[in-house]
Amino acid sequence: MAGKASSLQIWQYITAILLIGLLGFHLLQRVPWIWGVSTIDQTLTAAWVYSDYVHYGWALLLLAYVALFHGLNGVRGMLLELHQGRLYEITINVLFWIVFIAFAVIATATVAKLPPLH
């Protein structure tokens, strides 16, 4: 992706729109009153979380990709505001993609290689 400030910011807005839905869905999974339980801990048991992965794994994975991109791209934009220069910009962009890919791979492994509950 080009390092133009305008394109970086447009991707921030696009991912922000996606995050409203995806993160809203994710947070609602943890609101105990919605699910008929009394504490947040009851929505964090191994069985509950495993069920989330099995039924909504694709949504959680998409959320991880979009949130990672939005967060890291935001930091990239701030760092590119702070200083300019060809080598600096290349370094920031390479670091952005390394961190993004590394954590995206971990998130993918969580869903793709999830062990059985028992």
Partner: protein, 165 residues
């Protein structure tokens, strides 16, 4: 530390960056809650990103513990152990701070989407007249900003009830 590119002269933007971004209260701007929201948006963004990276590693624990068992536990057997650690007060306070960060960042992000991306709520340009108040300061986005602060506090209280309840 100016750079020349052709006939254009680029002035460095570094001086003042930290002062204006990290400590906006030292910048003398009256009647500018947008400035406070700008800095809060950045600070909460950093908090959320730090949590996100830790959260991805934490939720991957059933997978990575199969290769690197922790305290002799691997797979889903490790999960209750991690949840027990996170039930401690220090982690609860951390979750409360992250919840506050998310609950400010998201509504303020919606305001920024509306004003910056869709260009609504910023008022119409016109001839400047005394006392030269920027049109954006009297446009709908200012009311939206106050609404963001109210929604933030209300939702944060509800989140506190859920987290510490």
């Amino acid at each position: 530390m100016t750079e020349r590119k052709g006939n254009a002269q680029e002035l460095p933007n570094r001086p003042g960056f930290w002062r204006s971004s990290i400590n906006p209260w030292t910048v003398r701007t009256r009647n500018n809650p947008e400035r406070v929201a700008f800095v809060l948006h950045r600070i909460t963004g950093f908090i959320i990103l730090a949590f996100l990276l830790a959260h991805i590693l934490e939720t991957d624990s059933p997978v990575w513990s199969q290769y690197f068992p922790y305290n002799g536990l691997s797979g889903w057997a490790l999960w209750p152990h991690i949840m027990a650690i996170e039930a401690g007060l220090a982690f609860r306070i951390g979750e409360f701070i992250v919840a506050g960060a998310v609950l400010f960042h998201a509504p303020n992000g919606v305001r920024l989407l509306l004003t910056e991306f869709f260009g609504v709520g910023v008022g119409k340009p016109g001839d400047p007249k005394p006392p030269y108040v920027p049109f954006t300061f009297t446009a709908a986005q200012r009311q939206w900003l106050y609404a963001v602060f109210v929604v933030w506090i209300v939702l944060w209280i509800i989140a506190g009830v859920i987290i510490f309840g």
